[in-house]
């Protein structure tokens, strides 16, 4: 394989920007969480690309990626539970309508 490392980094940057755009522009809280998942995955893709290109001898980067995936899974479980709790309270998952704490 003779793809330079920069290709993977730019791919991850594009995916991160797409996820950020989704998290910033959409009103539905579930899609905001999906955008955050996209950003997580692009960051982990960076880790794996660096492992393959620079530090192939030790598996540290892969272990780091595994722990990051575990933390992301815990985050999405709690996040979706929060969305369900908010829905019970407001009868809506629109992030623009959650303004009870606004001064």
């Amino acid at each position: 394989m003779n793809i330079p490392l920069g290709h993977y980094l730019i791919l991850a940057a594009i995916l991160f920007a797409i996820g950020l755009a989704g998290a910033l522009t959409r009103k539905n809280a579930i899609i905001v969480l999906m955008g955050i998942e996209v950003m997580f995955n692009s960051a982990i893709l960076n880790l794996v690309a660096f492992w393959q290109y620079k530090y192939f001898a030790v598996p540290t980067a892969q272990l780091f990626a595994i722990f990051a995936i575990a933390v992301a899974a815990a985050e999405s479980a709690v996040g979706l539970a929060l969305v369900i709790a908010v829905y019970r309270h407001y009868k809506s998952v629109d992030v623009d309508e959650m303004k009870e704490l606004k001064g």
Partner: protein, 169 residues
């Protein structure tokens, strides 16, 4: 191998774009699954076989189903089309911020000599045994910490989601 990289990248970017732009929530999740599978294919291409498997198991198998359940619990079950959100002020500001970030990152990446590095290792062997040994030797404390974190997240998610039911009793 080069062709595989471009095809998988196109599928991954398409999946991500559709996941954050479609109006039907269930279609969004299907596009997100396409994105997750594309990332897993990239891991396989980068010879991280264990991570690719973990990606499919956790993201396609668990997180996507979790999101589908959240949609069904909060939305009309079939996920009818939401209001058109595209091309408003909010959409434009978010899109401009994301595009600016992408351009900045691209400049930063291309200005570094690291961007031209080619793959270091060329051995095509499974990394599963190595990862397993490292997990129970050097990384056993983080492993236990992750176990506690996952237990806490499980209990926390159940407590948060059940709150209203307990109050109404």
């Amino acid at each position: 191998m080069n062709l595989a990289f471009w095809i998988i990248s196109a599928v991954t970017v398409l999946g991500a774009l559709l996941a954050v732009s479609l109006r039907n929530l269930v279609h969004c999740v299907l596009a997100l699954i396409l994105f997750f599978i594309g990332i897993a294919a990239h891991y396989f291409l980068l010879r991280a076989d264990f991570l690719g498997t973990v990606q499919i198991l956790i993201y396609v198998g668990a997180v996507a189903v979790l999101i589908l359940f959240a949609i069904m619990l909060t939305h009309n079950v079939t996920g009818t089309d939401g209001p058109r959100e595209i091309l408003g002020v909010k959409w434009w500001s978010g899109a401009v911020i994301a595009a600016a970030l992408a351009i900045l990152l691209k400049k930063a990446i291309l200005s570094d000599p690291l961007a031209m590095v080619l793959p270091a290792g060329d051995k095509a062997q499974s990394s599963v045994a190595e990862i397993g040994r490292a997990l129970v030797a050097n990384w056993v404390v983080p492993l236990e910490a992750i176990a506690i974190l996952l237990t806490a997240a499980l209990i926390g998610a159940v407590v948060i989601a059940l709150e209203e039911i307990q109050k109404s009793r």
